[in-house]
């Protein structure tokens, strides 16, 4: 049974149809990369799946429980969100809270964890993303890469079943991108289920096991990453891969490996 299944999701903003019937399946332990040109609906898809936008129609099945999108109660949304986590393009850390408080806030208030336990869990989460020396720093005292790693720590701390990443490195300089991708790579190796909207071809190619390629609000092609990059079937996919250039993909993959070493 897939952990997450989305069927026929549609979403329009005014006269603009952003999603025109998207299907998607994520198995436990999958790392799925959602690729596609700007404006293809990738981010909207992710936001609809986590109810940050209300989809017009479609079905969402999570852990075997089925929901009619557009008609999900606030209670169910709150319940589902406790099993998931979201990492934003702009980090969206709480600016009035330290790194550690950013991680513990949801544990204490949302997940009703006792404070001392939450602080232990929070410190461990920050340790995992390499920020053991930054517990008491405020977001504006941290670099973009560090802020995004705090955001990832905040996401993993409650041990969600899946983490949604919305272009987690798009706002970062190349060298900071590397440190964030390295953290995500380790999460993937630890078996975390991840759904990642990204422009990082190197990451999609080497870390994700499946790729979904979107264009104009529909899935143009999907399949195992290796096959997608080495042997794309659709003409549109081939054109996209040509347009971004294989050199770029190769380079960012290399940089990441260097950082890891």
């Amino acid at each position: 049974m897939p952990m997450l299944e989305v069927k026929g999701i549609t979403k329009g903003f005014g006269t603009l149809d952003v999603l025109r019937g998207v299907d998607l399946t994520v198995e436990r332990g999958d790392v799925v990369a959602i690729l596609g040109p700007s404006g293809s609906g990738k981010t909207t898809l992710l936001r609809c799946i986590n109810f940050l936008e209300t989809a017009d129609a479609g079905t969402l099945v999570f852990d075997g429980e089925s929901f009619e999108l557009g008609h999900v109660s606030k209670r169910d949304i709150a319940r589902l969100r406790k099993k998931t986590a979201f990492v934003f393009q702009n980090y969206n850390l709480f600016s009035n809270k330290t790194a550690l408080e950013n991680v513990t806030e949801g544990l204490i208030l949302g997940h009703k964890m006792p404070k001392t336990q939450a602080r232990d869990v929070g410190r461990r989460a920050l340790d995992r993303v390499g920020l053991s020396d930054r517990y008491d720093y405020y977001p504006d005292q941290l670099s973009g890469g560090q802020q995004q790693r705090v955001a990832i720590a905040r996401a993993i701390a409650p041990e969600p079943e899946i983490i949604y990443f919305d272009e987690p490195t798009s706002a970062l300089d190349p060298e900071l991108t590397v440190e964030v991708l390295a953290v995500m790579r380790r999460l993937a190796e630890d078996g975390m289920t991840m759904l990642v909207v990204t422009h990082e071809m190197g990451f999609a190619r080497t870390v994700s096991n499946r790729v979904i390629f979107m264009e104009d609000g529909v899935v143009a092609e999907s399949g195992p990453s290796k096959e997608f990059f080495e042997n794309p079937k659709e003409e549109r996919t081939k054109a996209f891969l040509r347009s971004i250039g294989t050199t770029m993909a190769g380079e960012s993959g290399k940089k990441e490996n260097q950082a890891k070493e």
């Binding site: 940050l52 969100r81 600016s95 009035n96 809270k97 949801g106």
Partner: protein, 231 residues
């Protein structure tokens, strides 16, 4: 200026200061407390886009911001008795000044609430917080920090505007000064004297504002706490 003027100046100091301490300041504290409660409510219903209440807030602000404070005082104190509503002058002053300033402060607070990036609200939802928790823990603390200097401005402004209550017979500093002037015929030194006392009060508030802003600067507070923990 002659010796009589200076003598009156010196003798009247206590007579003016006492209503300042016993009326102007308590009046300001009471009116500003009322103002903050009402302003917060007016700002929140607009920020949260609560139907009906939100339109009410806009209407309220339109009325109170669009008419002079002195006219509002006159309507409540001299006008309402005509329909059988008689309000004590101090209560009328507190209510009218507080409600009037609430209209301005509501806009200050609303702007501050809206200045908190909406992404932090979304992040709050995604980490399992409820709307109330997000407001209380994330949005309001940041908004109040942003609003603090402007609200301090309003407080200082209000302190001086309590002198308008003299027009509805409240025995505050200006009213008392007017009485002494009527007795001694020394308007110049006496009005300058009351002005200086207002200036002294405002100076204290300005100093308090500076202290408040330093306290609200979270980094400093946190660092100090850490240093203490290390020691």
């Amino acid at each position: 200026m002659d010796a009589h003027a200076w003598q009156v100046f010196a003798q009247s100091f206590d007579d003016i200061l006492i209503p300042g301490l016993c009326m102007t300041i308590p009046l300001t504290v009471a009116a500003f407390s009322l103002c903050m409660v009402v302003a917060l409510l007016l700002a929140m219903v607009q920020y949260a886009k609560v139907p009906v209440l939100r339109q009410f807030a806009r209407f309220y602000i339109w009325i109170f911001r669009g008419t002079p404070l002195l006219v509002q005082l006159f309507i409540v104190y001299y006008g309402l008795p005509r329909v059988g509503i008689v309000i004590h002058e101090v209560v009328a002053a507190i209510a009218v000044i507080g409600l009037n300033y609430a209209a301005y402060c509501a806009e200050t607070i609303r702007a501050a609430l809206e200045s908190v990036p909406v992404g932090q609200v979304e992040a709050g939802y995604c980490t399992g917080l409820s709307y109330i928790q997000i407001m209380r823990r994330i949005v309001l603390p940041q908004a109040m920090k942003t609003a603090f200097p402007t609200l301090s401005n309003s407080l200082i402004s209000m302190l001086k505007d309590t002198s308008l209550a003299a027009n509805i017979t409240v025995m505050e500093m200006l009213q008392k000064t007017k009485q002494i002037v009527a007795r001694t015929y020394e308007p110049l030194v006496l009005y300058i004297e009351v002005g200086l006392i207002y200036l002294a009060f405002s100076t204290i508030l300005t100093w308090l504002q500076g202290r408040g802003e330093r306290r609200l600067s979270t980094h400093r507070v946190k660092r100090r706490r850490n240093e203490n923990a290390d020691a």
